[in-house]
Each structure stands twice: as C-alpha cells, then as structure tokens.
Symmetry: C2
Subunit: 459 residues, 2 copies
C-alpha cells in the first residue's frame, strides 16, 4: 500500500513537473512572439511587398520564391516545392456598373461599385444592359422561373445575417448566392448576375470571391456589388422596377499553369515519421494584398515552426509548415498535398489550418477526431487560458487540409476573432495596414503552443 | 419519497425554465444590439460630432447636453445632472520639440513629436533648451541625484513591457514615469521632463495623459514624445550624450469651473431602492475625439440600459447609466457621484464601469465582493459563453466608481480586448474611424446582459 501510494505520488509529481514545463515553454513562446516575433515583418514582405497573388499571377511566383527563401533562412531542416497545375484567371481592366432608372419623369443614372467574381467570363465589349430581377435566394429564383428571369440580370440581394455572433456563420448562410447563383440564374435564361457583397456591414467595397459554373447551363458574367450599392439598388427598384443595369467586365480564364506549394519542416527527434502539419494559403485575391486572407495564415504557420528554432526546442514529432497554392479558386494545392502524402505513405497525425485572418486568437476547432483524441485536445485547453484563448470546439478545419481529412487525418482550424474579418475579406482593404502587430504575433504563439503540445504528446 | 422526488423534479424544472428564460433574454439582447443597436450611432454623435471634450472645454458642455438629451429620448424614467467643480486645463498652441546633436564634426537637428502632459505648466515663451539625462525609472533617477540632473531635461525612457498579454498590465508597469516623473525629476533640479509615450508599439503619435505635481518640489514643464521619437532619441544619446533638447509648450491651468455628471435610470419594479449603476466617463483628452476613451464606455452604458426599453423588460432593481465628468484629470465626477450617493442614502448593490475601449468584449472583473457575491458572479459566466465572453476574474473596476468602492460597494470592470488599445489611447488617432461597429455593439449587449442578471438576481 505504501509503495503504491508512493508510486501514485511520484506519478502525480511527474505530471505536475510536466505541466510546469509545458506551461513554461508555452509562456516562452508567447514572450518570444510578442517581443521578438517575426510574423509581422514576414507579412510586410509577403503582403505589403509582393501584394495580391492570385494563382498564376507574377506575384504568386514571387510569393513561392519568398516562402522557400524565408523557411530556408530560418534554418528549417528541409524546404521543398510541390508542383501542381492551377487555374489562371485574370480580372483585366476595371469593371463598370451603373443603374439607369426613372425619377419622376426624368431618367437618371447611378454608378455602382462592382468587381467580377473569380472565374467569371467577360461581358461583351459593349457590356450588358438589362432589367433587373431581385431575389433573396436560389429558391425564390426557382419560383420566378424562366418567365420572369429570361433576358434579365439577376440580383441576389440576401444580406449576411448580422445577428450571428461568429461572422463566418453569417458568411456560410449567404455565400451560396455568390458561388452557385450565376448558374442557377443562367438556367432560367438570365444574361448576367450580380450579388450583394459578402460584407457584414455597409461599405462601398465590393468583395470578390470564387464562383462555380455548372456545365449543364449557359455561362453568364457575374459580379459582386458593394453592400452600399446593394442598399441603393434595392431602394431604386422599389421606385422603378424597370430600372436597367449596365455591367461591363473584362476578365478572362487563361490555360492552367504550373505553380507550387511550399513546404518546410523540422524533423521530430523521437517519432519523425509522425507529421503535424500547419498551413495557410499563399495565393490571395488580386484586389487587396491578401494580408489577412491568407498572408496571416502563411506567416502564422512559418512563425509557429520558427519559434521552435528560436527557443532551441527540438520537437519529438515532425512539424511542418505548408503554404498551399490556389485555395481561393481551385484548391489544387490542397489536393496535391494530400495526393503526395498518400503516395509517399506519410503519416499525418493531425493537420492545422489558419485561414480566418490575423485577428486576436480565440482558440481551435477540431473535426474528424476520435473521442479519445477530442478528450486530449480538450485537456490542452487549460494551458491556453493565461493567454485568453478559450475556444476549443468540436468542429473546424480548413479548405486546404480538407483533402487530407478524406484520408482520415483529423483536422484543426485555428480560430481568430471574426468580428472585423468580413469588413475586409476579398476587398481592396485587405491590406497590411489593417493588420495589428500584436494580434498577429499572438496568433503565431497560439499555434506554436498547440504544435508544441501535439509534438510532445501526439493526438 | 415520491412527493419529495416530484418536488425536486419541479425545482429542477423551474431552474431549467429560469435558465432558459435568462439565456433567451440575453440572446435577444445580443440580437437587438447587432441588428438594431444604437451604440455606434450614438458614438458618431458624441465622438465624431462633438469631438475631444476635456473637462471645462466647450465640447464637454456639449457632451453633457447631448448625454441628457439622448437618455431622455430613449425614455429613461429619470435623467438628471449632478453639478461638480472640475479642473480646467488648456493645451494652447501646438507644442514643439527637437534635439540638436553632433554627427561627426557637424551639428544637426531632428524634430521630435511631443505633446504636453495634462496638467503641465507651460515653458517660457522661448522654450527650454538643455542637455538630456535619460533614465529608465524613478529609482535610476534617484541614484543619479542632483549632481547629474540639475539644469537638465530628464527623459524617462522605459517602454511598456510588450511581453504582457494584457496591455493594461504593461501600462500599469510604466505609467508612473508619466504621472509622478516630473516632480521626481524636479526635486533634483531638472528644468523639464519628457517621457516615452505609453504606446505598446512604435508609432509617431505622442500619447498625452495626466500627471500630478508634488507640491513639495518645484514645478517643471513635462511632455510625452512618441515612441518613435523616443527610439530615435535613445540612438542619438548613444552617439552624442551632450545632445540638447528644445521643448516649447503653451498650456495653462485656468480656474476650476462648473461641470456635470449625467445620470439616467430605469426604476426597478420589485426592489427600486437597490441600484445597479453602470458608467463611463464623458470627458476625454483633447487631441483625438475620445471615441474609445471613453466615448465607448458612455454609449455602452446608455445602450445597455436602453436595451431594456427596446425589449420591453422592466428590471426588478433600478438600473442607472452614469456619464462621469473629469475622469482624465481629476475624478471629480466620480467623487461627486459617491458623495451624493452617500448623502441621499442610496443603496448601490454594485457599480460597473466601462473604460477600456470599444473593442470586442472578453468579460468582467470584480473587486470588493464577498465570497458569496463572487460565487454568484462566477455562476453568471456560463450564460456568456455563447457570445465568446469567457473572462470572469476577481479583480477589476474603474476609476470613476472607485469612490463608491470606498463606501463598500462591489465594483465591476467591463473587459474588452486590450491588444489595440494602447496604439491609440490618448492620441490623435483615438477617433471614430478606429471603432468597429460590431465590436462596440457586442460590448453594449454584454453589459446589458450583465445588468439584466444583476437586476433579476441581485448580487
């Protein structure tokens, strides 16, 4: 009995010591990130320096070279590129949009701020001019049918639900209009579509984003107008239902082109075959400089791994930063990464993605984990409380790590605060000056701390 | 046994129902704030419209009139003013500062961005020019003593500790240099002082703030230079320890003047004599428009009470919004409020203050509560989790409610996220455009929810 008690006591003591060590290492990570962190400087180079970097653009190639160079500079054990073919869409000259309507007996015209959706075809050179059918959903569109839609421009007008606490939830509830709306409208004979931007507030910045044509239907040009323009247009349509919209877009899809994921890792000391990967996507939309989406995720990932080097910690398991190419309009990089992981029999124990911006860290959400794994994950939570990181949820992940998930790898999404994200997402104001240094560095420390726990204890 | 079980079951059911009601009312508060909240519009009037409103300034009187009018407009049961005498300090013409130093064999000069500290005297008309003694603390100053300090300008150079997770903690660790540094330096014969701004990062915005002369020592002019200027100056002093600083300030303290707290309340239906007050301070520094400090706290307080009207909820206890005058340089409003509360035998069960800016809500901290009260407070916490409000701590409060605390009233501080606060606190960029609508409205909902629980259950 005595011996057993002693044994239990020793175990208890061991656990205590381990907990202390973990918390002190995590404290060092936060301290280092806040005082000597490199995330912000890296982001100044990637977003501020290189700028928007849509797949296939000259900037995207600069970003690949930058990512490789910077991971080599930090002394990662290996850094390599993964070639993959990506779509190559170009916006062309600035889009135009206006509405012409009657005001009493006079006709008047108002410009509306618009941008083409990624993947859209161009309008004819002279643009399109047509009457407008406003719908708040695909189902309302279906009810109207060809009789009311043919020859018109469909305006998808449903706003994001501002009552949602998490803005990503509001995004999820509205983005179908942007993604599949154009083909849904085209099947009833629409000649073009516009969508109210995925903006949680009212601003005059149009939000671009990807859409997907359904090959069964004709293709029509599609754009997003700012939420301010959408509000204006709704008022105009109340007074003049026959108002006509003019839109001109000059975009083009070029042949697929070769691009790359950038991968860098530090090999584990005890179980090098067990890989924990963390990534963001290197491509971004072309209108801003992709500082939050997803420059932040890229520098979070690099910095989280770099913190091990900075603190002289050799992880027990292999930790790997991945800069995925082509999240925005194809996920070719994410697919390629998973394909190669399978081909090379790599054993990923978990994949983490940061693709929610560089705002203040709130936690992590995990999907695809067993009950036991989820329990372990939840036990990590208390170590994050001193840093005001409280959200540990049972759903989360990322677009780029989705294909790994299909191979049975649990996935984890880093959760930053979301309140400001859809003010700037996919717009010309997703730029470096809207990133806060401390918030960004805190994100890297939070991911670094999670990497540390995973590399020590597995999942 | 059966009856007892039934009784327990009923109790359980009652608790469940109550919990559901509370959570559904709280949900309505958040929904209303996010979709029809008035905080942002009110702040546009107060900060954007009226501007900086230091005690005694014309803007401060406009702010008093605005506060009264707006609470009347929302239909509070009673709205009144509490007269109090306040200090009246004016900045005067823009301050000047430069450093002259040798660079090799040449002399050169560099401008440094400065602002006078609130309460400082002016320099002579021709300014002051003197050599600089750089110290990182009052204790280092004491070690140097009169021999090294006399006739010089003391430069307090210790930065805020960026490693702190909460920036208020970093502020607390550095602000003594600003507050008592001038008199500490004057006792050793310094002719003026400058302090590195209380800025958590590096920027070229000087941060003003109050200081306090010690009547036992001579008075000297004192200003804050931007953190960028402080960094530059530190480098200059390394190459030329005899560099000379020039500073010119034109501020003046006028006679005390009459001003007002603005108070508005909704009377409780069951225990109207039990008062729960929530406040922010109506005065602000003069260089920005005091949008975060503390326009946010004012509109949080008004809106938290207004939400009861908007939802048709009559509180059981009396809830009261207080816009305190003169937090920044005297706390005369806070003292007057407590004095009158005592005089009128008012029974405050708890006082809440919002004076940490309008960023995303994180929780509340409470001080001066009994063990039982603290337990009740902690039980409220779970109702806030759906809104990502997790911090319930056993320390917190506010400057304006401090005097009530001395009468034994527990005090509670609303905790918003602090990462960005000391980028803009007391500067020309504490302005409306740096306030995020959703973050602000979420703060009001969070305080409204806390008011609701306190008005239902007391403390």
């Amino acid at each position: 009995m005595k011996i057993r008690s002693l044994f239990i006591l020793s175990l208890f003591w061991l656990c205590e010591v381990t907990a202390q060590t973990d918390s002190s290492i995590i404290a060092q990570m936060y301290r280092t990130a806040l005082t000597k962190g490199q995330s912000y400087q890296m982001l100044e180079q990637l977003a501020g320096g290189i700028g928007g970097r849509l797949s296939g653009s000259p900037q995207s190639y600069k970003a690949v070279a930058w990512g490789k160079k910077v991971m080599e500079k930090w002394g990662f054990d290996s850094v390599w590129l993964q070639p993959c073919m990506v779509p190559h869409w170009v916006r062309g000259a600035k889009e135009e949009c206006s509405v012409k309507y009657s005001k009493g007996k006079l006709f008047t015209s108002e410009k509306l701020r618009i941008c083409a959706l990624g993947g859209s075809m161009a309008t004819p050179k002279e643009g399109i001019t047509a009457e407008i059918v406003m719908v708040d959903s695909v189902s309302e569109l279906a009810k109207l049918g060809e009789a009311k839609v043919k020859g018109k421009i469909v305006f998808f007008s449903r706003p994001m639900d501002r009552a949602k606490i998490t803005t990503f939830e509001a995004y999820g509830g509205a983005v179908d209009q942007r993604y599949s709306g154009p083909s849904e409208a085209a099947q009833y004979g629409a000649v073009g579509t516009i969508v109210r931007s995925m903006d949680i507030g009212i601003s005059d910045y149009p939000h671009t984003g990807t859409m997907k044509y359904n090959d069964s239907f004709p293709k029509v040009p599609c754009g997003a107008i700012s939420t301010q323009a959408a509000e204006d247009l709704m008022k105009i349509l109340k007074t003049d239902p026959h108002a006509k919209l003019y839109m001109k877009m000059n975009c083009k899809t070029l042949p697929d082109t070769l691009s790359y994921n950038v991968v860098g890792e530090i090999r584990g000391s005890e179980k090098p075959e067990e890989i924990i990967c963390v990534g963001g996507h290197l491509d971004s939309w072309d209108n801003g400089d992709g500082a939050h989406d997803d420059g932040a995720g890229c520098v979070h990932s690099i910095e989280a791994v770099r913190l091990f080097k900075a603190l002289g910690i050799r992880p027990k398991r292999t930790i790997r930063a991945v800069l995925f190419m082509n999240e925005e309009n194809g996920v070719r990089g994410g697919n390629k990464y998973a394909e190669l992981a399978k081909l090379n029999n790599e054993k990923h124990i978990v994949a983490i993605e940061s693709d929610g911006g560089g705002h203040v860290p709130k936690g992590f959400g995990m999907s695809g984990a067993s009950e036991e794994q989820m329990k372990k994950f939840m036990e990590f939570a208390k170590l994050f409380q001193p840093y005001h990181v409280y959200e540990f949820t049972n759903h989360g992940g990322g677009t780029d790590i989705g294909p790994l998930r299909e191979q049975g790898v649990p996935q984890m999404g880093f959760i930053p605060d979301s309140q400001r994200y859809f003010d700037l997402h996919h717009t010309e104001i997703d730029i470096m000056k809207n990133v806060n240094r401390r918030e960004l560095e805190l994100g890297s420390a939070t991911i670094g701390a999670m990497l540390y726990l995973l590399s020590e204890y597995g999942l």
